[in-house]
Symmetry: D2
Subunit: 418 residues, 4 copies
């Protein structure tokens, strides 16, 4: 195990630890530690809601999920000598649930959760079809996940950090706030909201002096979206063995990481859609000086996935086009066509006995692939979603014999504001 | 070789063949042949522009591409006993370029092409950045493609039909025309257009009696978009060994196929973006009676890809978010985020010596993967594009040493209306 | 299709063709054609018994298989400028069953066969356990094989030439004859024989002048074993897209090819164990001058497999050690340990309802993997055989529920001398 | 982390721990713990030489390796209710180097070693060609291994236990001793020996009462070879996610495990050939009652490999036949043909600048594949060894340009008795 430079005590809240992380992006958040190029180090990560979600059979906690507090990030970690314009090379040497703890109240202690946010508190990719809150608990056995709320499936997790990125410069942060504010202004009361403005009250800002907190908290960007600095990209393929290249915007780079996922499908479609957990991540960092210009990487991470992703060789795939459920033709809308593909997959799985919510939760958590298959064939884009057939205990191929019927068990817990 | 039920003579135009296919969707286009469930059969396919694109070093033909004439489809093939509500099972037993002909003026005779359409004649995924027409010719050697217009790469084609589908019912066709007409009406003069209305003059309608042609031609849907019947899905993974399930909307199903691609990247981003070719396809069909209801497949194909796709195990990936190049924040727009990811890949490749057009053409043709990585993290979706590093003759990994410089050769031929 | 330089008429015997191949190795067999480095060309290949094995339900033909006549090789093909000491680079561009012919009496016309040779006529890997002759006929559908003699399985063929190689020099041939003669002399009457000496009567020697035939026939090596020139290596992974490097021993290299297999398991354990067929192969050749010395390749082919091998991701594996069935301990005998692993697999499959012969034939034909797992742990080597679970229509995993029972159908035809 | 039922203190020798394991097979060695079917648990494993091999640049320790003391096994673990005739189902949930310790004097603390045993102390697969002792030290970074003794390569380890198995019954043990004794008797003074007889002096027998030690030690089988109970199979594919089925010969099954490898090539050809290390393994056990008869598994493990093995998609392969280096023809000897294939690979790699020893050590440690390609083509079997090209920092493809020359650095330390 490489040097453990950021540790979390599972018995304490995120804000009560010896080292305090952060939940906002701001250049002034001071580094918790400084490492050298070539260094390897271990970082603990808290699950994104800091323990608010329980291993039980109620979705009340998902309904009430404290979205203002996310994400509980570890860092920032400064890299000695990193300068704006460099590329920060980050190798994910290892990543996993909380080591040495396989039971307990904290996600990552042998279990994790997937949630569908209610439309009035977060929403999701298919929030119009699924306006209420739902939850599924997943148990870990080695790298395998199973759920009492979704019987008949088990799969190998492609464990990864949902969120990793460098600190924005002051200028970049200002740009974020300007453009996102402009979007919000187009429909400020929308539910769910179009974007999330800075919010000082629940901001956690590491070791920032008390005197600066109000100002920085009111400027600091929320961590929900991915942006130029990487951030909450939710790329399931950033798993063990991956090498990622981040643009550097501030001296030291100031890398932060969190939001670990035991598994996730492409898109993380239920919003709380990966199998959320706390755990550890082992990183090694290096620098390519001037790499942003040299390689034309002005923003957003580039990366090389590792070579130990779980292998599946048979898939059942669903396609969708950019026509709304109401029959309205949209112009080349790949977001919509992926929604339609996912809805098709859900419709299909319900024929085997799953509830729509179980199917939706499964697509959020399992290693499904979402592809932009066609993006030019006016007016319809074509997106596709691939389900690995091997994750099911039964055959899901269409045959003349018709679908087998599974016992859906207790189903996925539900909660609503209604 | 299974029975050859639709043959094309490479020396004759599509409309001068013994059997005449079609280039529009309409329920009244009569089947060219009827097969039984369980039957295997071979079908020849003409390249989608019927020979208008030449194996030369000029892009004039791409600039002038006759878009009103596409796609030159083989079929329809009726399946005995198929009824509306059934699922038509189609196995792709084999698919390839024109057999026994490895040179000649027709794409598929040992070569194929990739084009970027000009903004004023078709446009493309990145038409604002690439408003002119470009072309690349690819030479086939076995299943491998190389191009004199894009040096330094070679890859194994994932050969597939860009377009396959069943005939729409009268009602379904009417729905298409209504919704697409409504979209066009929002900006009827847009260049490129939002959608393509029926057009009778260039319609090819198989053996439809002369007396019906004007009416049917004015009703029949253009073949550009994928729709409920499958159609021009441009799913690169529908290659050899795949099994596809199409909804049946008319008696006999009336399956048609065409637009063969020697290779394609996810999205077919240059519009004329696959490696276009004519060739053959061997199919086997079967029926799942009542399968649409039984499996909840009301529209769009579902499919199981084959297990002989070319294998690559190392990838370099680029991410993008839904912020425009001008810095405007859009709300969860996966189409935009994929554009941004592709632009990032292009920017990167130019650092090795490629022109932007070469890079763009390459992304259209090579087996790149486009994934919907994050679709819920308001306001930014995150799309990613994966390039197999093994297709390059040189290393494309970012390193401290910087990119090697290739000789881009003659480059990609260009033509413009300017 | 590249230039067709060696054609076979399916209605004529191998020795009645316009171009006559050969079935022995000898430096004096004249090339049937000469190609240039960089050339691509197509070659037809006859199934190895030249039509003696029928598509029927009797194993009499396997019992009487004319082993003196094999292998019916296409070639030799001289490569202009190739000199002893060079490496001959051979790309397999494509390979498949007889094109345009999917039914007929010749293996390769839509079907192929797997045989277990009787102990008294050829024998096999497990000849002591399976002394009689058996046969299975496989039907091809695209790249998929199924058999009426072995129900419940279907698999994607990894199509390859069992035999390809360069001509031996006079000196090399003399060495072969000396060392194999010495082996035979240790037990000349053994059944099956230890090795096969030259035999002139059934020798086919291409266009060799009549006057030389008796002499050359009495010197020419039989084609059964792989040797320094490549030859009958039966490496299932030499499939489409592979690049092979052969030592050159004579001017022109004089490449020959044949013994096409639709599929094969590692080891080709039933001897007639692949799915045997005739067909075509498209090759491209090149030369690395002086490559034998430069790369230290003094003998035997080296190769790079293609990237379109059928993919399976779940396997059930069996291990064996070098203890005989009678309980005798042998010293690090990997041949024996692989026999024991295969016998374990056969024992296992019979529990599902297969006859031992069906299981044995299946292991010969299906894409099983045979690995030398441990070769140093005195006194036991450990070999393993991996069965892809996806080739079975039913689950073959061991479970508490016990094995499902399949209907073995008519079984595998048998014939014996008894 | 599942319950930790067998712990090892890295600062103490194997025989000084709180729980004492064993290094011999005998039914009377008492279980160190009892688990229930369905239980998951963690077991620490000591590296097989208990710390005798150092992280230094001398091979003296390999020369003097204390072979009488191996293997330091953890266990036995009794499974409640397991009876002779059952199959013991063992899932490998996780396996890795010593957690929380990434530096230190014990292999597994961030590093491991590969050795070539000297002919006079152990020998190896190619001992006639490599009679002296050599060593390579490998450093671990995440799942990646690199060596200062073998520059230019890095690879992802396929971590696995070299040895796992159930206890033999008294009868089975007697059979082992009889048959191995008979083999030894054929050449009792051979160097290296044909097999290893019981040896009481260095026997470690867990908690066996002192009074029984002399007798049991003189009966107990050495752990070097794999046998009916699994044992030292050295199957590299028994990695994370694998499920293994062992025959049960005694009440409780009495499972033992050890000899962890960070990586290994097929065959573990240098004998001390994997990357040896200590570490941990997380297991889950279950029982299939009567499974030996139900599934026909009378001996040796069967198994299903996991789905997270490192993926490589390009390979350079070498073939060999059963002719000795002296030119003697042997009859279908797959052991010999694999030796020849490995020697060919070594010859090849030396052309790039590696010493033969470096190449040999690399083949022992890297994820090479060894296949029994042809086992019936009298008189030559054909074995093949596949090297993943991606593990090299430079291209190892044969080209007209010839091999690049690497700097072999200090080379592999050597020691000899001479």
């Amino acid at each position: 195990m490489p040097e453990h430079i950021f540790t979390l005590d599972s018995d304490k809240r995120f804000t009560e630890q010896a080292q305090i992380g952060h939940n906002r992006w701001h250049p002034e958040i001071p580094p918790v530690a400084t490492v050298k190029p070539g260094d390897s180090f271990r970082v603990d990560c808290r699950e994104w809601f800091d323990g608010a979600i329980k291993n039980d059979d109620s979705a009340q906690d998902i309904l009430d999920a404290p979205l203002l507090t996310v994400h509980t990030l570890s860092g920032p970690f400064a890299v000695e000598g990193a300068k704006p314009g460099d590329l920060l090379v980050v190798d994910i040497l290892d990543v996993g649930p909380i080591p040495q703890e396989d039971s307990g109240p904290l996600a990552g202690q042998g279990w994790g959760y997937t949630g569908i946010f209610a439309k009035q508190n977060g929403g999701s990719f298919l929030t119009d079809q699924f306006p209420d809150a739902y939850k599924a608990i997943w148990d870990f056995s080695g790298q395998t996940a199973t759920s009492r709320h979704i019987p008949g499936v088990s799969f190998t997790g492609i464990i990864h950090p949902g969120l990793m990125g460098t600190a924005p410069s002051k200028e970049l942060l200002a740009r974020w706030n300007a453009r996102e504010g402009a979007l919000i202004a187009t429909d400020p009361l929308r539910v769910p909201p179009l974007a999330l403005p800075p919010e000082a009250e629940h901001a956690v800002l590491g070791a920032l002096p008390e005197s600066e907190r109000a100002r920085v908290g009111s400027e600091a960007a929320r961590t929900a979206p991915p942006r130029e600095n990487g951030g909450n990209q939710d790329i399931k393929n950033l798993s063990k063995g991956s090498r990622i290249f981040y643009p550097v915007f501030v001296d030291g780079g100031n890398l932060s990481v969190g939001d670990l996922h035991f598994s996730q499908g492409d898109g993380e479609i239920t919003f709380c859609g990966a199998i959320e957990m706390g755990g550890f991540i082992d990183l090694r960092v290096d620098i390519i000086r001037g790499g942003m210009e040299t390689y034309g990487v002005s923003e957003n991470a580039i990366f090389m996935p590792g070579n130990v992703e779980p292998q599946y060789s048979q898939w059942l795939a669903f396609s969708g086009t950019s026509v709304t459920l109401d029959g309205e033709q949209r112009y080349l809308d790949s977001h919509l066509s992926y929604q339609r593909a996912c809805l098709h997959a859900i419709d299909y799985l319900t024929k085997f006995g799953y509830s729509p919510e179980q199917a939706y939760l499964l697509l959020g958590a399992a290693p499904i692939e979402g592809r932009l298959s066609g993006v030019v064939d006016i007016p319809n884009s074509c997106s596709t979603v691939y389900l690995p057939t091997g994750i099911f205990d039964f055959s899901i191929e269409p045959t003349a014999a018709g679908p087998v019927q599974i016992d859906p068990g207790m189903g996925a817990p539900r909660a609503s504001f209604g």
